[in-house]
Symmetry: C2
Subunit: 211 residues, 2 copies
């Protein structure tokens, strides 16, 4: 035991990846026996993995107490994304107060060295702010919310118009607020940034809900 890679960890990571990637879709059933057979192990570690996914909000209990990939209502998603935005805003405010000069320079460089790969730059920017907030509890919270929301963020890049260009502008504005140590401004800008970033998803979800 205490193996370098425990079976439970392995199956947990595998299932988590499938859910996040969309290979497993909301509503899909996950039975302990089936997964155990697929991965060539007993139900015990599978059981542990499913319970962890449950507490992480990636799966839920269906009829017969069976596990199914979590189905979220539009209201649930609105809550989740709103929370994500609020936590990001907190990070931005704390980062504006606490980032060291070195961290500020690094943050500036992330946007300056924009090589066109928006997703990469975006991830780096948000990561830098998360670390700059210097609060491990919030950082863990943010990681968790990001993972939980990933399954519904795929389609966010069929965004309309020049969403990426707009997002770059918003990043620059946040950067300026952080450099100016204006926490409240950074937080407000970040809330708006997250809201517009996720508006495409919301529209998509609302459209599906009406269908």
């Amino acid at each position: 035991m205490a193996n370098s890679e425990r079976s439970a960890d392995h199956v947990h990571a595998a299932l988590s990846e499938r859910i996040v990637a969309g290979t497993l879709r909301p509503g899909d059933a996950l039975t302990e026996s089936g997964i155990a057979e697929e991965f060539g192990m007993s139900r015990t570690p599978v059981r542990e993995a499913l319970h962890r996914l449950d507490s992480e909000g990636l799966v839920e209990r269906g009829p017969r107490r069976a596990f199914v990939v979590r189905r979220m209502s539009v209201a649930d998603l609105r809550d989740l994304f709103e929370t994500l935005g609020e936590i990001e805003a907190i990070c931005a405010r704390l980062a504006a107060h606490r980032m060291t000069e070195i961290e500020r320079d690094a943050l500036t460089r992330i946007l300056a060295d924009d090589n066109g790969h928006y997703a990469t730059v975006n991830a780096r920017f948000h990561d830098a702010l998360r670390r700059g907030a210097q609060n491990r509890t919030i950082a863990a919270l943010l990681d968790d919310l990001n993972r939980r929301s990933l399954p519904w963020r795929e389609a966010s890049f069929r965004g309309s118009g020049d969403r990426i260009g707009q997002s770059r502008d918003e990043h620059r504005a946040i950067l300026q607020a952080v450099l100016a140590r204006d926490g409240d401004c950074a937080a407000t800008l970040m809330r708006a940034h997250m809201a517009s970033s996720l508006s495409a998803i919301s529209e998509m979800l609302l459209a599906e809900a009406h269908a």
Copy 2:
């Protein structure tokens, strides 16, 4: 199975209560076999309960991968309490925007009907704001953080001076901001309220850390 009270739920609740109440103190060891024997069940449900407590942050892994009641550094506690304050502040802002007239009246009455039991009034006030925020994700987050921080909040009532009176004043100020629908003001006041509410704990912790 799927019993109205599963063994795992029972032992989870029991251990959780002991940790929160301080019967089990940080650093105390929790062995699967020992607990199983005490509760008259097998290791399996105990194991599930311990893993849940782990994911909830109430216990951690010690040497030999044994479970021990979580020991938090001063920095960890600072992060945790800061996060708690930030989330409460979010609730206050959202509640200021979203509470219905009925909810505002109820909130007003909670402070008006103050019968002297500060803890009760305090709990009701924060609960009302949490519900008024109308975001289940944030509400769940807040519940979680409250549970995680409970073990270190006992001593918060050996607060110095007229902490309770000051707290009442802060509550009234927050109420006014909420009634005025001034979200940013409510959030700022709430952050300050949480910070001063928890300052006694911080002082105590710092004193212990120096000892």
